[in-house]
Subunit: 445 residues, 2 copies
C-alpha cells in the first residue's frame, strides 16, 4: 500500500460532518424536533433535493445561490440535466408540492419538512453550503386563519426550549405595520424602505438613514419617522400599539397590521417573560412576506443572525396553480444552531455507539451461546453487540470501556454455570437472566 | 392571479416524491430500519451529500454516474466548485470518513448510514436519480473478523422481515471461491470471468459462454466449468461444498473461500428455511469486493435486481490513509424496494397526519380554553390540533373525518359544563378529563 498515492481526506469547507459522539446528539435533536412538530398535528413531507430551475428561480431573488447539476460524462448535446438545481430552501419546493398534489391534500394543510438544503456560496469560513432546516408551514385555500400566526412561534418556542440552548428571543413583527406606516407617511416605494430597515442591525441607524434619503428618496423627516418605528420594541401588545400610535401616522393597513401583531403577542402571553418580543425593526429582506414575520436570535450573539425565521406569505404557490394559496411558516436553522454550539464546545458529546450491552465471546465453541444470549436481549429492545472474535477477557472489557458501553454480559463459560452482567460504571457484577434482564432506564439514553 | 403565467408543477423523473399518507409509511420504515441497526450496536454516521471529485472517482468505474455541482452565477474564472460531486453511494464517503476521523474512532468501527444518494442517469422510466440507501459497514484495522460476514446478512434479514415485504431471498457467495476456482482452472484473468458471470441472469448461459470464449480467451472446456460452478446453489453448507468439490478443481484460495462461505451459511442456519441461500453465480460486478458477497432479490421478480447487496472489501480506504482498513458492508435499497411496492399498490397508505385528537374551537371567546385543553393533552404525548377558527361544529368534525383524526375533543361550550371526547371510529361520545385521558394504544400508531 505504501507505493500508492494517498489522497488527503480533507473536509469540504461549508459541508459540516460530525463524529459519532456529536452525530448522536444531532440525531436526538432531530427526533425531538420531529416529535414536537407531530405533537401539533403537522404531517411529514419530503421533496426531492432537486427542482426544475424555473421553479427555483420563479422568485428571482436568490438565483445566485443555486447549485445546478451536470452529469460528469454527459454528451455535450444532451441538455436533459441542464435545468435541474438543488433546492436552497424548503418553502419553494413545498409551494410546488402543494400545487402539484392539490387534489390529494386536506386544507388547511399543515406539514413539517426536515431536510438538507444547499446554497452555492463561495467557500468561506462560517458559511454553510449544505445545511439542515426544520420547517413547519400551513397552506390554505384563499385565507389562512390568524390562529396559525400565533401557533407557529409557540411550536418553535416549545421545540427549541427542549434543546438546552443558550438564551434566545423570538422577535415578531408584521409587514402590514411597516407598509401601512410607510404608506401613511406618503412614501411611494415601501419595499425599498423595508429592505433598508432590514439592514439596521448590520449597518446601524445612520447608514440606514443615508440609504433612505439618498437612495430611496425619503425626506429626512420621513426617514426619521421610519427609524422611530424601527426602534419600537416590547412584549406587551398594548404598549407596543400605544408607542406606534404616538408616532402620529395612520392608515387602514397599519391598523390591521397592529391588530394582527397584538393578536400574536396576546396569544403567546402565557410563554415565559421575554420569550416573544415585538421588534418593529424586523423586516425579513425576502419580499414574499406579507404579514406576520418572525426572527429569532441568541441573546449573547445577536450578530450571528437568525436561528429561526419565517412569516406569512400570500402567493408563493401562485406561479404554479390558478388558486390563491396563502401560507405561514417558520423554519428552524438546525445546522446553523448546532454547528455554532459544537464549534463553541457547548454540545456535550453523546455516546459513541447505541450499544447497551456487550456480550463477551468466551471461545469459538461458545459462539452459539453468546449469539443466543444477545438475541434474547435484543428481543426485548436491548441494543446488544457480541464481541467479534474469541479474545482475552480483558481485551473484550477494554473494548466496551473504550466505546462507553454501559454493561458487559458474561454468558456461561462452561456448562452448568450461570449468566452474569457487569455494570461498567459501578463495577458490580451480578447474576442475571438474559430472558428477563433490562438495563435501568437512565443507562438507555 | 389569472393574468400570471402558470408553471406546470411537474414531478422530475427519477426523483421520487410521496403523498403524506405514503410518506408516513416510509418514515415508519426508516425508523424501523434505524432501530434494527442500533439493536446491533451500529452507530449513526452522516456525511455531506458532496465529496471532492477525486474522492468519488478514485475507483474510476462509476464515473459516468456522478452529478457535479456548479454555481448558477459563478464567475467563469472561478473553479472553486468544479471539483465537487454528489455521492453515488455511501461506501466511498464512509471510507473517506474513516480515514479522516481515524484517530477519533474505536475499531472495529460499526456504523450505519441512511442517506440519499444520486446517480446521473439519463431520465428513463424506473431509473432513480435520487434515492435513499440504508447501509451498515464494519471497518477494522488490518483484518475484519469473519463474524461480521455472518452478522450483516442477519441484521438485513431481521430488518427487512419486519417490513412485510413480498417473499425475497438473500443470496451469498464468496469472491475467493470464484477467483480460486478460475485460478485452479489456469485462467489468467479471473476478473474478466467474474464480470461475464455477473451478467448470467441478464443474458443467459449461452451468451456468457460466448463472452468467456470469444473475449476472455477461455477454452470451451474452461468456460463450461465456470458455468457449472455458477449453477451451484443451496442453503446447506456441506452440500454446496460437496458440489463444488465434485467439479474437480482445487486451489488454496478456493478452499479458503469455501470455508468462509460455509461459516456464513452455518452461522445463519437458525434463520427460516430458504432465507439465505448460497448462489455461486452471484459475482457483484464492482471490482472492490474480495470475499463474501451478498445480493437479495424478490422471489416473484428476480429481474428487478438487487434490493439489498454488499460484501467484503480489502482496501477501500487505502487511497486515503497508509493503513490497511478492510471492511464488510451491506446496503438496503430503501427507495428501490419502497417505490416498487408503492407503484404496485402494495403499500397500504398510512395516516395523512399524526394527529390523535382534534380539539373543537367552540367560539373565539373560548379559544384559551381550547388551547389549554390541547396543552394538557400534548403534555402527556398526545398529538393534538386545535381547530383553527370558530366554525360550525359539523364543519370541524368533518375536518377531523377527512384527515382521519381518530378522536374529537369537546371542551366545555359554557361555564359549568364538562369535557367530552368522541371516538370517530365507534361514534361514542363520553365525558373525559383532559388532565388524564389517553387514547387507547392501537389508535396511536
Amino acid at each position: 500500500m505504501s507505493d500508492q498515492r494517498v489522497l488527503r481526506p480533507a473536509p469540504v469547507s461549508g459541508f459540516p460532518e460530525w463524529s459519532p459522539e456529536i452525530r448522536s446528539v444531532e440525531q436526538r435533536w432531530l427526533d425531538h424536533i420531529r416529535a414536537g412538530f407531530e405533537r401539533y398535528g403537522f404531517a411529514s413531507v419530503e421533496t426531492p433535493s432537486v427542482e426544475n430551475l424555473d421553479v427555483l428561480l420563479a422568485k428571482g431573488e436568490t438565483s445566485q445561490e443555486v447549485y445546478t447539476l451536470h452529469r460528469l460524462q454527459a454528451d455535450p448535446d444532451d441538455r436533459s440535466d441542464a435545468r435541474l438545481g438543488l433546492h436552497f430552501d424548503l418553502t419553494v419546493p413545498f409551494a410546488r408540492y402543494v400545487a402539484q398534489h392539490f387534489n390529494d391534500l386536506t386544507f388547511p394543510f399543515k406539514r413539517y419538512q426536515m431536510q438538507r438544503v444547499w446554497r452555492g456560496e463561495r467557500p468561506q469560513e462560517g458559511r454553510f453550503r449544505e445545511f439542515t432546516q426544520c420547517d413547519i408551514d400551513v397552506i390554505n385555500v384563499d385565507q389562512v386563519p390568524l390562529h396559525f400566526d400565533a401557533e407557529l412561534p409557540r411550536i418553535a418556542h416549545e421545540v427549541l426550549s427542549g434543546l438546552d440552548l443558550p438564551a434566545w428571543t423570538l422577535y415578531v413583527n408584521n409587514r402590514k405595520v411597516l407598509q401601512g406606516f410607510y404608506e401613511g407617511l406618503g412614501i411611494a416605494d415601501p419595499v425599498a424602505v423595508i429592505r433598508a430597515v432590514d439592514k439596521l442591525h448590520k449597518i446601524g441607524a445612520d447608514a440606514v438613514r443615508e440609504i433612505l434619503v439618498e437612495r430611496a428618496g425619503l425626506t429626512p423627516e420621513q426617514a426619521g419617522r421610519c427609524l422611530d418605528l424601527a426602534a419600537v420594541k416590547g412584549a406587551d401588545s398594548a404598549s407596543v400599539v400605544a408607542e406606534v400610535t404616538k408616532l402620529g401616522v395612520s392608515s387602514a393597513l397599519l391598523d390591521q397590521g397592529l391588530e394582527e401583531l397584538a393578536f400574536v403577542l396576546d396569544s403567546l402571553a402565557d410563554l415565559p417573560a421575554g420569550a416573544v418580543v415585538a421588534d418593529l425593526s424586523v423586516a425579513r429582506g425576502l419580499d414574499y412576506y406579507t404579514g406576520t414575520v418572525y426572527e429569532a436570535a441568541f441573546d449573547d450573539d445577536p450578530g450571528y443572525g437568525s436561528i429561526c425565521a419565517g412569516g406569512r406569505y400570500e402567493d408563493l404557490a401562485g406561479q404554479f396553480i390558478r388558486r390563491s394559496l396563502p401560507g405561514v411558516g417558520i423554519s428552524i436553522g438546525l445546522t446553523r444552531i448546532f454547528a455554532k454550539l459544537v464549534a463553541e464546545g457547548r454540545i456535550a458529546p453523546g455516546r459513541s455507539c447505541p450499544t447497551d450491552v456487550l456480550v463477551v465471546l468466551p471461545s469459538a465453541e461458545r459462539r452459539d451461546d453468546a449469539l443466543r444470549t444477545a438475541a434474547l436481549l435484543r428481543g426485548r429492545g436491548v441494543n446488544t453487540e457480541v464481541y467479534h472474535q474469541p479474545a482475552k477477557l480483558g481485551k473484550q472489557i477494554q473494548y466496551a470501556s473504550r466505546k462507553g458501553i454501559p454493561f458487559v454480559w458474561f454468558p456461561p463459560f462452561e456448562d452448568g454455570k450461570g449468566h452474569e452482567v457487569k455494570d461498567m460504571a459501578g463495577g458490580d457484577q451480578t447474576a442475571a437472566d438474559p430472558a428477563s434482564w433490562l438495563p435501568p432506564a437512565p443507562a438507555r439514553d
